[in-house]
């Protein structure tokens, strides 16, 4: 304890200044690299164009319509496949259960470009688009609905069984209705993710179809119609916010409490023959659905006209003549690693400080909201905002690698906050207060109590932020430099070029991204260095 113990006013003022600094760093970062670009989009629309002229445009209305119906179909298909999968993983014990759970998580974390490459290969098709969306979002249903079922008291089912309900009836008449809020929640998330689909839609929907995100990108990079892109961004923002608002309103109204138990109690071995048949059929099916696309990608990367070889990997170090890449694919890997490392570092600092501020003060709630917003706003909006905002004056950052780093960190910050903030807010806060009551200074309390407790979450968040940045494509597509593309940008460039050599290199690079992302995800899950919040 220092000598200033008997000068509480100084200590308080220091603490207040320190807290202010802690809040200022994330607040300024998010203000400059998130709020300002968003404001620039709104400003550019106000100046140049009325939303009416876009909504009056038949083709752009078509884009909005396609975006909506493909999201509805994707969500329905994901629920159809995801509910049985969630039921399987939540209520039954069987060999391979945890492996399936992790595999679904890996699918959710995989870069969109990798999934697009895995499901592409025979040219664009709607079937491939839907399959990719289902593959991506199974984890959402498994986590949200399965998470609910795994904590639901088995007594509900037992009572129904005593009343003579068969297994199928118990599922449709008891489990499904009880889980309705969770299902609505999961469906909303899946709808949001597929409504704002960019990388997958760009690769799989074909040139004649576009989601709003893809259209924003095309209007910017191909047609150079920034006002139209800006209006589309706003239209998407309005639709997404309206949806979130409606959902939260209905959720609070339908807030019925069920009896929940510790998740370990809800799952059991399949007992009846019907249950055994369900597990025997559903488990392998889910395994195939989750493993086949990545395996197919690996297979396509080694299958060459000359047989099964690693040629495509060996050739990644060279600049191929006639390639759309001015650099070797390995150079793109290096660029990606460096940018992602920088972005993850920034996201970690900003995210941890924001989490700290949120957990320490009641005013932190607006910071929590602010740091979560990039999730709903979509990476494409961030990237497009950068194009509009950072083009003049002291903030003319065009072509700077720092713009790319900033974009990726803005996208990664919400994930850091989601992983770190709960830990800081709950257990750690009480611990620090206890330490304070025992006479430790705030700094000491933080060092001795808080950091050890939160370090696992912080480590997990760092790894996760790195994985997110590595695979980031939505914002990156707008701000990556031509002469130093990141891996996802290089993959998309190669895929746009015809010829087996380009596509071979693109698949090999996709496999590398796949392996890195999968290792990080499995690592976080295995070593329990963090949880993914509700996801």
């Amino acid at each position: 304890m220092g000598p200033h113990v008997d000068r509480p006013d100084v200590r308080l003022r220091l603490a207040a200044a320190g807290r202010l600094a802690l809040v200022a760093v994330p607040a300024v970062f998010l203000a400059v690299f998130f709020v300002y670009p968003l404001g620039s989009i709104v400003g550019s629309v106000a100046e140049e164009l009325s939303p009416g002229s876009v909504l009056g445009d038949e083709r752009l209305r078509g884009v909005i319509w396609f975006t909506t119906w493909q999201a509805v179909v994707s969500t329905s298909l994901t629920l159809a496949a995801g509910l049985p999968a969630a039921f399987l993983l939540a209520r039954f014990r069987f060999p391979g259960r945890s492996a399936l759970r992790v595999a679904s998580l890996v699918a959710f974390v995989l870069p969109t470009v990798v999934v697009g490459t895995a499901f592409g290969g025979r040219g664009p098709s709607l079937a491939a688009l839907f399959a990719a969306h289902v593959f991506f979002n199974l984890a959402v249903v498994i986590r949200v609905v399965g998470g609910f079922w795994s904590q639901l008291d088995p007594a509900y089912e037992d009572v129904a069984a005593e009343m003579g309900a068969t297994g199928a009836r118990r599922f449709t008449d008891v489990l499904l209705p009880l889980a309705r809020p969770a299902i609505v929640g999961a469906a909303t998330l899946v709808f949001l993710f597929t409504f704002t689909s960019f990388g997958v839609a760009l690769l799989l929907a074909g040139p004649s179809r576009a989601t709003i995100e893809v259209e924003i990108f095309r209007q910017t990079s191909q047609l150079l119609d920034l006002p139209v892109a800006a209006v589309l961004t706003l239209v998407q923002l309005v639709i997404v916010s309206a949806l979130l608002w409606i959902t939260s309103a209905t959720e609070s109204r339908a807030g019925v409490r069920q009896r929940l138990v510790a998740s370990a109690d809800a799952a059991r071995r399949p007992r009846t023959s019907g249950e055994r048949a369900f597990v025997a059929a559903a488990a392998p099916l889910l395994g195939v659905a989750l493993l086949l696309p990545p395996l197919r990608l690996v297979w396509r990367s080694v299958r060459t006209p000359a047989g099964i070889t690693l040629d495509r990997y060996v050739g990644l170090g060279d600049v191929r003549a006639g390639s759309a890449l001015p650099i070797s694919p390995i150079d793109a890997v290096t660029t990606s690693l460096r940018v992602a490392a920088g972005a993850a570092s920034i996201a970690l600092v900003v995210g941890v400080l924001a989490s700290w501020a949120i957990s320490r003060s009641r005013q932190g709630s607006w910071l929590r909201a602010l740091s979560a917003v990039p999730l709903g706003v979509s990476a494409v909006t961030v990237g497009f905002g950068y194009v509009v905002a950072f083009d003049a004056g002291p903030l003319d950052l065009r072509g700077s690698v720092w713009l790319l780093v900033a974009a990726q960190s803005v996208v990664a910050v919400p994930f850091v906050v989601r992983m770190v903030e709960p830990v800081l807010s709950t257990s750690a806060l009480e611990l620090t207060e206890q330490a304070g009551a025992l006479g430790a200074s705030p700094l000491q309390a933080a060092r001795d109590v808080l950091v050890p407790v939160a370090s696992r979450a912080i480590l997990g968040a760092a790894a996760f932020a790195f994985a997110i940045a590595l695979g980031e494509f939505g914002a990156t597509a707008f701000v990556a430099r031509l002469d130093s593309p990141t891996m996802p940008v290089a993959i998309v460039r190669l895929l746009a070029q015809p010829g087996a050599a380009s596509i071979g290199q693109a698949t090999a690079m996709s496999v590398m991204l796949l392996v890195v992302t999968a290792l990080i995800t499995v690592g976080i899950d295995r070593f329990r260095v963090g949880t993914f919040g509700r996801l």
Binding site: V339, A341, G342, G399, S455, A496, P498
Partner: protein, 350 residues
């Protein structure tokens, strides 16, 4: 110290090290000049090396997608460019680029040997480098095997006999695509929109770029994978097929439909805001020099713009220049191009 803290700190340290490492590591003594270009750009390595030796500079070639994407990119970064010199802006695209302040004017002394009719920009913001004609190409063997006559004019494409046979490029992203759309306007006048409506009904395939159309979808391309026997390409493409054929050919396997040809000139310019203006100007001079101009025909299958450059024999024989290619007044294209492309996009993707 807690193991988790140690791990977290190590991770942060590694990340910062990786960041710090990303500062310029290439401490080469020669200045590097970056040429932004479209994906179809090609030049002989020996030609480039000779230029680099003579001027003691390194020429870095960075492809940026199709010409449309290349020019959009340059407009978005005008004044703060991603390179020093740009090649591949054509007569339809340069007015918008000049208006956006993409280029810094430079009048190359080598222009003295260039046909005045090709110097379409009196401000010398851009310099003509090559010219070509965008024409429909047909796979002759494909039509012979089916005893079907290939189309010999643009309007023929909507014929039921050619249903599902044509692949074109998106005029929003591809210069040959744009040139062909302009060809339909020049040839059909007011009827061009009806033509495209009918072509869509006749199952035309639209792709983003020339390479994808020619090597990905066209059946007549040597080594290509495509199945459609009609493509938008260049008057010189049949000559390219002869040059690149695996066995010697007496006849070109493909033919250009001369009534469909539209004149296209490609330009280069020094990018405003470049740190290497002197070197960038040297690159413009280089592109008008004899070694580059002589290399152009067999690399990019276009004609040189410098008058007295000798053409390769295979060009003399197979690359027929259309006698009276289609064209539209540059002012009209500049004024209406955007609206036309929008209309086309609505017609084809709406």
């Amino acid at each position: 110290m807690n193991r988790g803290v140690a791990l977290a700190l190590t991770l942060v340290a590694v990340m910062s090290a990786a960041c710090a490492d990303s500062e310029e590591t290439s401490g080469g003594s020669r200045p590097e000049v970056t040429l932004l270009t479209h994906d179809s750009f090609d030049v002989g390595a020996n030609v480039v090396r000779a230029f680099e030796r003579e001027h003691q500079i390194d020429l870095r070639i960075v492809p940026a997608g199709d010409a449309g994407q290349l020019v959009n990119r340059a407009i978005l970064t005008a004044g703060n460019p991603e390179g020093d010199v740009l090649f591949g802006v054509d007569d339809n695209l340069f007015p918008a680029a000049i208006e956006a302040g993409v280029f810094e004017p430079y009048e190359s002394p080598a222009l003295a040997r260039v046909d005045d009719a090709l110097e379409l920009d009196p401000t010398h913001a851009v310099t003509p480098i090559d010219r070509g004609d965008v024409c429909l190409n047909v796979d002759r063997g494909w039509f012979e095997r089916r005893s079907l006559a290939p189309p010999d004019d643009i309007a023929d494409l909507t014929d039921r006999a050619y249903r599902g046979l044509t692949v074109v490029q998106n005029p929003a992203t591809s210069t040959p695509g744009l040139a062909f759309m302009l060809a339909t306007i020049a040839r059909l006048g007011e009827g061009w929109q009806d033509f495209w409506r009918a072509l869509r009904a006749n199952e035309v395939l639209v792709v983003d770029g020339w390479e994808q159309a020619y090597y990905g979808e066209f059946s007549g391309a040597g080594g290509g994978e495509g199945e459609r026997p009609i493509v938008v390409s260049y008057a010189t493409s049949p000559a390219a097929e002869v040059v690149f054929a695996e066995e010697e050919l007496d006849e070109a396997p493909t033919a250009a439909v001369t009534a469909s040809c539209y004149r296209q000139v490609e330009f280069a310019g020094v990018l405003a805001g470049s740190d290497h203006v002197e070197e960038a100007r040297a690159v413009i001079d280089f592109m008008l020099s004899e070694p580059f101009q002589e290399d152009v025909p067999l690399r990019m299958f276009v004609f040189p713009v410098v008058d007295d450059v000798e053409l390769p024999p295979v060009f003399e024989r197979w690359a027929k220049e259309p006698v009276s290619p289609l064209s539209l007044p540059a002012a009209r294209v500049a004024a209406e191009r955007e609206a036309w492309v929008r209309t086309w996009t609505d017609l084809m993707f709406g």
